[in-house]
């Protein structure tokens, strides 16, 4: 069937601002939105630019706004979004070209929260022990693929680019609630800053946007509570 795609295009070498372009693509209901973008790029207009790699929702390259909501283009099928389909770049990060945004500010925020295990103790020759219950406490936040769907759906982030954003807090959560980690104090110090977790206004956009089903808002609330308990 014919699908009408409206894509917000921007070429930094010739455009002063973005403009909508229409494409008619023959597609099956079971096809991914990414498949449709590829049909345009490969057989119609090679200049259409977007990031993608794994094509099944685990690499985090192709977050975009599809009919107003943040999604991974490889994880949503034509029959789920209807016709026509409007596609825009994710919001709050500078648009570089078409659906490609500058990811550097996003990764800078991620790095700010010390996203790595901190433990100075000599671990010995074997694994550190961790009970299945302790392991479960941060299971949800280990799933993050850094696609930025959550952060760029956050109304606070849209207006305050200095806010570390949901994804960075999720990655802090992954270590703060890991029984093996000893960096909680340092991380919470960073996250109680004016640009940290308390900037969150619990809009729940991040939770709806997460393609991995992470309870992002809950993770942010966990961090807020932990900060209060530790202060």
């Amino acid at each position: 069937m014919d699908i009408n795609l409206k894509i917000l295009r921007y070429d930094p070498e010739s455009d002063r601002k973005g403009h909508w372009e229409n494409y008619i693509v023959d597609a099956e209901p079971e096809e991914r939105i990414l498949d449709l973008l590829h049909k345009i790029k490969w057989f119609e207009d090679g200049s259409l630019s977007f990031r993608r790699s794994c094509a099944h929702g685990v690499c985090g390259s192709d977050a975009m706004v599809i009919n107003g909501e943040n999604m991974l283009a490889c994880q949503v099928l034509v029959k789920e979004v209807g016709n026509p389909i409007k596609i825009e770049p994710i919001r709050g990060l500078p648009v570089v070209k078409d659906l490609i945004v500058d990811m550097e500010p996003f990764f800078d925020s991620y790095k700010k929260v010390m996203p790595y295990l901190i433990n100075e103790k000599e671990p010995g020759d074997r694994e550190r022990l961790q009970s299945p219950e302790d392991r479960d406490k941060f299971e949800d936040t280990t799933k993050c693929i850094l696609c930025a769907a959550c952060t760029t759906s956050c109304p606070v982030f849209w207006t305050a680019e200095t806010y570390v954003g949901p994804a960075a807090i999720v990655n802090a959560h992954r270590f703060v609630f890991d029984s093996r980690d000893e960096g909680t104090k340092q991380r919470l110090e960073i996250l109680k800053d004016v640009n940290g977790a308390f900037r969150c206004r619990t809009a729940f956009n991040c939770t709806s946007a997460c393609p991995r089903g992470i309870q992002v808002t809950k993770a942010i609330e966990d961090i807020k509570r932990e900060t209060l308990l530790n202060s």
Partner: protein
């Protein structure tokens, strides 16, 4: 075209598991850069699911020698046994090290790392399936990639993200540097360096139905192949038995490790006929052939009788939710069925290259079949062929391979850099490449010579003629097709003429490597008149140890390859018939 020059002691190309592990080893000892055409966390290591084997013996008695036996037997006796010993022995420390760096493994009740069963892994040399695969739910690769990247962040490793490697410069047999193209700007970068590791991953995009990411195009092997370096064992390509029907998206062997069963259209558990002892947990080559045979004999399901079922319905909601959450989500997302209640349509999918850049056990690249080392050049992970996987890799051994031999690549870079002095690469080192790119941009676009059309014809023809079952006839036919495709590629054109994020230009560069990989694969497959592991010749159905107990080395010659051979390094395991 703007040219920017950098100077480093070492450069790693690729930021998946092997590249990152090499970086962690090398970074403290030198000025190091990691260049990747993606962001590091987008690498396809993150798509690996089921586990990473090591004889930790957390669940039951185990021994790395049994792991080595299984790996050698699984390889159909083509793996080099001293290399396999290193892989399986160092596996134990490799897993512990990842745990110490924070990898969130799933846990047993006693707090130790959890282990599960996986295809081809057995206790006591074949007695029963072994609990050997250390895992983190069904996203073990994701956790390995995240943990290694986190470690790199903590160390302050220098990354050049979204840089497409174009070439390595070697003068008088000595590495001078690498050239890369910056996607965001279209600028050319010269990296002056005397040690380079290629960890660019596999090349599953030579086939139409594949579990591989779009970016897996054999860039590292392609660059070296074009420089006259051979590719080893290219005829051995693994097809994973359980790709989601039509899409090829991987459903981990862990599904069968946890008790999942393959069934044909009549509901029969057909693996009982093909591998009576370990059934659905037979190695991947055997299971994929069994599925292909069921389908060709009319036992496939569906309107076109072209798939079988992976049945998880008897496992129960709790096991599925706890142990197989991601893959069952893939099924819900892409097939729209509930795997707790219904069996899943699956078919074999192109998955893993056993072959690649030849290396020794120190990850040093070899420039011929005699074992001559190419100074300053290293390779690790799927891009490389040590060989630890031989003719068929066992599940979980690739995640092991990337950390064990990634680490060794890093160590070898350190050894080389501390023993040599910096070199000088000419400012004009990239002139030929700038010209090539400019020509590509200047050439008028035509559909006939578009990247996508040539690639589509390549993938469809490889799928038809060089997949699970091959014959002299299909391979000769494919050789002719590849010649025509190469001729078309000489005239390849692109529509996008821009400098910023010209991903069509990158796809044109990648297609060159895909053609190289296909040419080497088909030439190597045509020359091997036997069936061994994943290489199955219907016109030569038996293994021929007298003539083919050896590794192939394909040297690029025109649009095909010249084949030379090297004897397999045997050890304590005598080749025997491979039955399960």
């Amino acid at each position: 075209m703007k040219v920017i020059k950098h100077s480093f002691d070492g450069v790693i190309v690729g930021a998946g598991g092997a590249g990152l592990r090499a970086a962690i080893e090398a970074a403290p000892h030198m000025k190091l850069a990691v260049i990747t055409k993606l962001y590091p966390t987008r690498s396809h290591t993150g798509a690996a699911q089921g586990g990473m084997s090591a004889a930790l013996a957390n669940v039951e008695e185990d021994n790395w020698n049994w792991h080595a036996f299984d790996t050698v037997k699984g390889s159909d006796y083509l793996a080099d046994q001293p290399a396999v010993d290193i892989l399986c022995k160092e596996a134990i420390d490799a897993v512990i090290e990842l745990e110490h760096w924070g990898l969130p493994f799933s846990r047993l009740d006693n707090g130790k790392i959890a282990q599960r069963r996986f295809g081809g892994h057995t206790v006591k040399e074949g007695e029963s399936p072994a609990f050997r695969a250390c895992y983190a739910a069904d996203r073990t690769g994701h956790m390995i990639l995240q943990t290694l990247y986190q470690k790199c962040v903590s160390m302050g490793v220098t990354f050049f993200d979204e840089f497409q490697v174009l070439d390595i410069k070697i003068e008088d047999g000595i590495c001078q540097g690498v050239i890369a193209y910056e996607l965001a700007t279209g600028d050319i970068h010269i990296f002056e360096t005397r040690a380079v590791t290629f960890a660019t991953g596999g090349f599953g995009k030579i086939f139409k139905v594949s579990s591989n990411a779009h970016s897996l195009t054999g860039d590292g092997p392609g660059i070296l192949y074009q420089k006259g370096i051979p590719l080893e064992d290219m005829e051995f390509y693994q097809f994973h038995p359980t790709g989601i029907y039509r899409l090829g998206i991987l459903l981990s062997e862990a599904a069968r490790g946890e008790g999942g069963i393959l069934r044909n259209k009549d509901g029969e558990r057909f693996m009982e006929r093909y591998a009576p002892s370990i059934k659905d947990l037979a190695p991947r080559d055997m299971v994929s052939r069994a599925i292909a045979t069921e389908i060709s004999e009319g036992n496939g399901a569906g309107p076109d009788s072209d798939y079988v079922y992976l049945d998880l319905t008897h496992l129960g909601a709790e096991t599925i939710k706890k142990k197989l959450p991601d893959i069952t989500d893939f099924v819900r997302t892409y097939v729209k069925i509930e795997p707790i209640e219904e069996p899943i349509p699956v078919q074999p999918t192109a998955h893993y290259a056993m072959g690649g850049i030849p290396t020794d056990v120190h990850s040093r690249v070899l420039s011929d079949e005699k074992g001559t080392v190419l100074p300053g050049v290293y390779a690790a992970g799927e891009a490389a062929c040590v060989s630890v996987h031989g003719a068929n890799r066992l599940g979980t051994n690739s995640l092991l391979d990337i950390v064990v031999f990634g680490k060794r690549a890093g160590q070898s870079m350190v050894d080389y850099v501390t023993q040599t002095k910096p070199n000088n690469i000419s400012d004009s080192a990239s002139d030929d490449l700038s010209k090539k790119i400019q020509n590509l941009i200047d050439k008028e676009h035509t559909d006939e010579f578009s990247v996508a059309n040539i690639r589509k014809d390549l993938q469809e023809s490889m799928e038809e003629n060089a997949k699970i079952f091959r014959t002299k006839e299909t391979l000769e036919k494919q050789t002719e097709i590849l010649e025509e495709l190469r001729e078309r590629y000489e005239n390849v054109t692109i529509f996008d003429k821009s400098k910023v994020h010209n991903s069509e230009l990158v796809e044109a560069i990648e297609l060159d490597y895909l053609l190289d990989m296909s040419e080497a694969t088909v030439a190597s497959a045509l020359a091997r008149n036997e069936s061994r592991g994943a290489h199955s010749r219907q016109d030569f159905p038996d293994r021929d140890d007298t003539n083919f107990m050896k590794h192939s080395f394909a040297f690029k010659k025109d649009n095909t390859a010249n084949l030379k051979y090297k004897d397999v390094e045997l050890g304590k395991y005598e080749p025997m018939e491979r039955k399960y």
